[in-house]
Amino acid sequence: VTTESEQPAHEKGQQRGSGRELPGVGLVKGLATTLKTMTKHAHTVQYPDQAPELAPRTRGVIALLEENCTVCMLCARECPDWCIYIDSHKETVPAPPSGGRERTRNVLDRFAIDFSLCMYCGICIEVCPFDALEWSPEFEYAEFDIKDLLHERDRLREWFWTVPAPVALDPAAQDPKEIAQAQKVADKRLTAQKAAEIVALADGGDAPADVNREASGEADTEADGRTDGDG
């Protein structure tokens, strides 16, 4: 059996030219298609009665995690239609008892997004350096008055609870930067500690055999590589 795609192009052309297909076959096929579709389930969803199945990263509304916001104003500046309103004031943090000087920090007074202007481009979310803004799949926030679409930070914070967890990394993927960094620091500290123990044991002379074996078995390879280089 040869399918149509296997036949050479000129053969196909000939077949069409000679009109080997009976006239009206296309019309019958059309009727068959509509009849077949009629027996299948509808593709539509009866929305208010039946919740729609949303894609995992649906762009429904922009949610705010105000704890992460540092009032850097990047989102408000990047917004193409200027629909983000931010007010803040500076507070002085007194000098710590251990010394140093007073510092100031920004305190968020107001964070509002006007969803009657927002065009859902997501640039604010992209640009936020502290992940304070995120897409939420929530979409049922229609209002009767266009003015009521200006949503303040409490509403935006509520929406953040509906933000889905980030997609899991691939099994073989590199660790995220912050985890990799922390892991590196922790490893270094551990090796240094192990090396110090070994040095202490060598100085003391007769050490218990099990401690010696444990230390060498676990940390030998790393310790050899790194502490030697350092020292």
Partner: protein, 322 residues
């Protein structure tokens, strides 16, 4: 005295039944169109009105149309404009009077010239659209009206020829007598005629794929552009009444009307059933096929349907003589 009272009662009863049929069955077909078309397109169609699967959608539509303002354009030919929907709708009601539903006396009026009468009256129905198109004083309406006229000219002939073939086969113009004489082998014998009759009937009703005169995406519903409210609803109702009458006539002329098992008692049921199945086919064709262009439409009538109808006439004649 008692006899005349009885006669009047019978006439009144027949007319009430026919009026009921005329008001209910087109709505049934309309609802079927809503639902069948929706499912053929992977949708559900109306689901709210009336609660259960939107069964009252057309009633709701009717109430909506009744509430709307009836506007007559300033430049329109007022009387003709206002009269057109009635001219479009009423012929179908009148034609229904002579179509037999069941055997014996199950017909409004037994008319010897039934077939002739029905076809003549159906042609008047198209006139309503033409009047609306001319009287609206709108270029789209006029275009639609002219196209309607051209379509009427082209498709009336094959329709009459194929109907004449059945009349020849039965040797009578009475619809009841035609059904009486019908036998199963008429089905293959008159197959071409049935196809021509049904197709040209569709074209005369301006149903898709022959809906060039009302093509809503290019001439904005043609002759109906300026109509609003109840008058517009009448045009729509006329379309569905036309479908019902065409399907009824096709089943009476070509599919044996009331013939079927238990036809002595359930004859009318068979007629209604055949009519509804044919109405489904009308809807099915609408969903499946794109609209024919105006020239394709004309060519189809003159180069395909008329020769086919003539061939059917010849076949009928030859078989009759043999």
């Amino acid at each position: 005295m008692d006899g005349t009272a009885h006669w009047w009662l019978e006439v009144a009863l027949r007319l009430v039944v026919i009026l009921g049929f005329f008001l209910v069955v087109p709505l049934l077909v309309g609802q079927m169109e809503h639902k069948a078309m929706a499912h053929m397109q992977g949708r559900l169609g109306p689901m709210r009105a009336g609660g259960f699967h939107g069964w009252a959608q057309l009633i709701a539509d009717g109430v909506k149309f009744a509430q709307k303002e009836s506007v007559v354009p300033a430049a329109a030919d007022r009387l003709v404009f206002q009269l057109a929907p009635a001219v479009a709708l009423l012929p179908y009601l009148v034609a229904l009077v002579v179509v037999p539903i069941g055997p014996g006396t199950q017909v409004g009026v037994e008319l010897d010239l039934g077939l002739f009468f029905v076809l003549a009256v159906m042609g008047v129905g198209v006139l309503g659209t033409l009047m609306g198109g001319w009287a609206s004083a709108n270029k789209y309406s006029l275009l639609g009206g002219i196209r309607t006229a051209a379509q009427l000219m082209a498709y009336e002939l094959p329709m009459l020829l194929s109907a004449a073939s059945v009349a020849m086969a039965a040797g009578t113009l009475s619809l009841s007598a035609i059904v009486d004489k019908w036998q199963w082998w008429w089905l293959p014998w008159q197959l071409i005629g049935a196809f021509v009759f049904f197709t040209s009937g569709l074209a005369e009703l301006q149903r898709p794929p022959f809906d060039m005169p009302v093509a809503d995406s290019e001439i904005i519903f043609g002759p109906y552009t300026e109509y609003t409210g109840l008058r517009f609803a009448f045009f729509l109702l006329a379309e569905y009444a036309g479908i019902v009458l065409l399907c009824l006539l096709t089943s009476v002329l070509f599919l044996g009307g009331w013939h079927g098992p238990f036809s002595a008692h359930l004859g009318w049921l068979w007629t209604v059933l055949k009519t509804l199945v044919l109405s489904f086919v009308v809807i099915w064709l609408r969903v499946s096929y794109p609209r024919l262009r105006e020239d394709q439409l004309q060519r189809f009538a003159w180069t395909a349907l008329i020769p086919l109808a003539l061939a059917q006439l010849a076949i009928t004649g030859v078989v009759r003589v043999l």
